[in-house]
């Protein structure tokens, strides 16, 4: 049998990142390095209150990042999470502040609204087969106006700590005497563990990965792809609703017309954390770590005196680097994909 074609393995195992213990470890080290850098450069940075600030301002981005990880793994994207979270907060807040609803009801409304928009997104992508970028771009624009309409254009101040409804802020920030505890971080860790379990150990998580890996093959294996897409986007929507609660709890007021740009930070965090934009790859833990790169930059750059526009440029550069790494890593995994 002369002339038989010699065959080499489809992809090679030995990449630099692998040898360093995986992307999660690398990104974690980057987080530590950034933190150390800011501590060294700015003496005011190394305080407990700074860590509190970093954590506080991270909750809403972390939540939407965890949520958007799921559509990203299917090879799609959810652009509606930024303006969405503001919209849900406005709707819930309007009911609480101006209609007298109890705060817990307002919180539930936030999550429900998020789930509904998520359902719409899932329907557009899964059943109507719209490209996810387009579908969620449309819902992004819709939520941008929707929140403003529901709150009749007002900015909404959710009840402050100390007032009757203000208890919800303690979910994230618990003050015992002089000690300030970032309770929110605990919830984030729990949610990360929960979503990680769902992604890696439940059927729906498995199918979300499968669709991102090879949509056709998944369909041919008899799996209801519509249902899978809807699930992914509803998860994203629910987390946008949770992020709405977090945002309202940390910041004084919520104003309509804001929120555009949050989604890019959330998606950027997920990509830095190892989620591939082409689908099939990603971990919730990775997303959590990746988001912290962005959060530390956001909080730390002002500390070293950089004016706002430079902050944006640097964050943009970090994102480009993350995307480039993602693309180069992708060349291997593409071999089987049709």
């Amino acid at each position: 049998m002369s002339g038989r074609i010699r065959n080499t393995p489809v992809s090679s195992n030995k990449s630099v990142i692998r040898r360093l213990g995986g992307q999660n470890v690398v990104v974690f080290l980057i987080v530590v390095a950034l933190f150390a850098f800011f501590c060294i450069v700015s003496p005011n940075f190394r305080r407990y209150s700074t860590i509190l600030s970093i954590l506080d301002y991270s909750y809403y981005i972390t939540l939407i990042a965890i949520g958007v990880t799921f559509p990203l793994i299917t090879g799609g994207v959810d652009l509606s999470i930024g303006t969405g979270l503001i919209c849900y907060s406005l709707i819930g807040g309007y009911l609480v502040v101006y209609q007298g609803w109890p705060v817990w009801a307002g919180m539930i409304v936030c999550v429900l609204c998020g789930a509904l928009i998520g359902l719409l997104n899932g329907f557009l992508v899964g059943t109507m087969n719209l490209p996810p970028f387009l579908a969620t771009l449309c819902t992004m624009m819709m939520t941008r106006g929707l929140g403003s309409i529901c709150s009749t254009g007002l900015g909404i101040p959710w009840p402050t700590a100390g007032t009757e409804g203000g208890w919800f802020r303690t979910i994230f920030k618990l003050n015992i005497g002089d000690l300030k505890l970032p309770l929110g971080f605990l919830w984030i860790l729990l949610l990360t563990a929960l979503m990680s379990f769902i992604l890696n150990h439940t059927k729906i998580g498995r199918y979300i990965i499968a669709i991102g890996s090879n949509k056709e093959a998944t369909r041919l294996s008899g799996i209801n792809t519509k249902y899978v897409y809807i699930s992914a986007y509803v998860i994203s929507g629910i987390f946008a609703g949770l992020a709405a609660i977090a945002y309202s709890a940390i910041f004084a007021s919520v104003y309509p017309g804001t929120g555009a740009g949050f989604e890019l930070e959330g998606i950027g965090g997920a990509i830095i954390g190892g989620v591939s934009m082409t689908g099939g790859v990603g971990s919730v833990v990775g997303t959590l770590i990746g988001v912290f790169v962005i959060c530390i930059l956001k909080t730390g750059l002002p500390f070293i005196g950089l004016q706002a526009n430079w902050q944006q440029i640097i964050t943009g550069i970090v994102l480009i680097a993350a995307v480039l790494i993602d693309l180069s890593r992708n060349v291997k995994g593409r071999a089987i994909n049709r």
Binding site: M142, S148, L154, G155, A252, F303, Q307
Partner: protein, 379 residues
């Protein structure tokens, strides 16, 4: 279908729609449609036999309740005087392009007058000229347009923002004067401005910076202004950072949002030599308060950082009441709305009009319930 035929059809459709749009008064909807608050109309009883006057009033945004108070004032006055007013405004104060679009749409609907609070003083110049050529009188409120072409803006009803900044500095000085005089090392005073483009914010910031500089120098201390280039360059005196006793640090976030203002404020509040911080509008002041949540450094006593805010809103009011915020400067948004309508009516009738200073007042926990101050402290 050949390209030429398509082009002709397209032109016909365009021309028809332009003609259709020119007739009658539009109710203030923008072409973009979905990004702004839907317009409200209020009409009053007819007091004269002619058709009531129609005005369009464009606010800077619906971001803070300040603007709602202005709208409320205008509405009440319109009702009282029997004219129609339509209101419009972009979603946020950084949506400059949206506001310009609304302004142009307003011009096209040919009202009897337009009132506008410009998000960006230079972005509306062309539209102002167009309004003049269309014979529509324009009154500015809250923020003026200093470089407006002659004859375009007939009058401005606003707080003298520069004076308001001065008032804020004077208010803060009462609490920090001794600390500045007795300081052995450098001290820092922070200023958080939500932008560097609108007339109101820039004037307040500069008013504060210049007055604080004068007060410190009067106490025998040298001053340097650092941070955002715009404010540094426009300040009366830049000073030298290395040798100055008092450093005024100015920070501007990349977008006019609370969380970005909070991050900038954090950076200032975290410095050990900061003794005072000024937030020049509601968003910035709320940002300062948010940043304080974890630090707890604001207060009214000598060991705390003195925070001075601007405008009102429930968050700021609560902070002033309990002393976290030493004090704030309030504008008179209600009065500003009323005055704007009055000016518009006069201008539409061809009477001469001139600028009105609606005034800004200092308030703290001691005087915030006074009858002269309280009505302006909207929620």
């Amino acid at each position: 279908m050949s390209k030429k035929l398509l082009a002709i059809i397209f032109c016909i459709v365009l021309i028809t729609s332009v003609l259709a749009g020119c007739e009658g008064t539009k109710s203030g909807q923008t072409a973009a449609g979905d990004t702004s608050k839907p317009a409200e109309t209020s009409s009053g009883t007819k007091t004269d036999a002619e058709k009531p006057l129609n005005f369009i009033i464009i606010v800077k945004s619906y971001q803070s309740t300040y603007w709602l108070a202005a709208v409320k004032g205008a509405e009440e006055q319109a009702k009282a005087r029997g004219v129609n007013c339509t209101f419009n405004g972009p979603n946020s104060e950084s949506d400059i392009a949206d506001q310009v679009q609304m302004f142009n749409d307003a011009i096209n609907s040919k009202p009897d007058g337009i009132g506008i609070a410009a998000c960006d003083a230079s972005a509306v110049l062309d539209s102002l000229q167009a309004a003049k050529e269309a014979g529509i009188p324009v009154i500015c409120f809250d923020s003026g347009v200093p470089d407006a072409p002659p004859g375009t803006v007939l009058a401005t009803a606003s707080t003298d923002n520069y004076k308001a900044g001065v008032t804020a500095a004077q208010g803060m000085w009462k609490a920090i004067e001794n600390r500045v005089k007795g300081a052995t090392g450098k001290v820092r005073i922070g200023v958080v401005n939500q932008d560097a483009v609108s007339e109101s914010i820039t004037n307040r910031g500069l008013g504060f910076i210049d007055e604080m500089t004068t007060l410190c120098k009067g106490a025998g201390k040298s001053v340097a202004v650092v941070g955002n280039d715009f404010y540094v360059n426009k300040a009366k005196e830049k000073g030298d950072e290395a040798s100055a006793d008092v450093i005024i640090e100015v920070r501007v976030p990349s977008q006019t949002t609370t969380e970005l203002c909070a991050t900038e404020a954090s950076a200032i509040l975290n410095q050990s030599d900061t003794i005072g911080i000024f937030g020049s509008n509601q968003v910035a002041a709320e940002g300062v308060l948010t940043a304080n949540q974890n630090l707890g450094v604001l207060g009214s006593t000598d060991d705390k950082i003195i925070a001075v805010g601007f405008d009102a809103g429930s968050i700021i009011k609560a902070a002033v009441k309990d002393g976290t915020m030493y004090g704030a400067v309030t504008q008179s948004p209600l009065k500003m709305g009323q005055v704007t309508v009055d000016l518009l009516i006069s201008a539409a009738k061809g009477e001469p009009v001139s600028d009105v200073d609606t005034g800004g007042a200092w308030y703290n926990k001691d005087n915030m319930d006074d009858p002269s101050i309280a009505p302006n402290l909207y929620d």
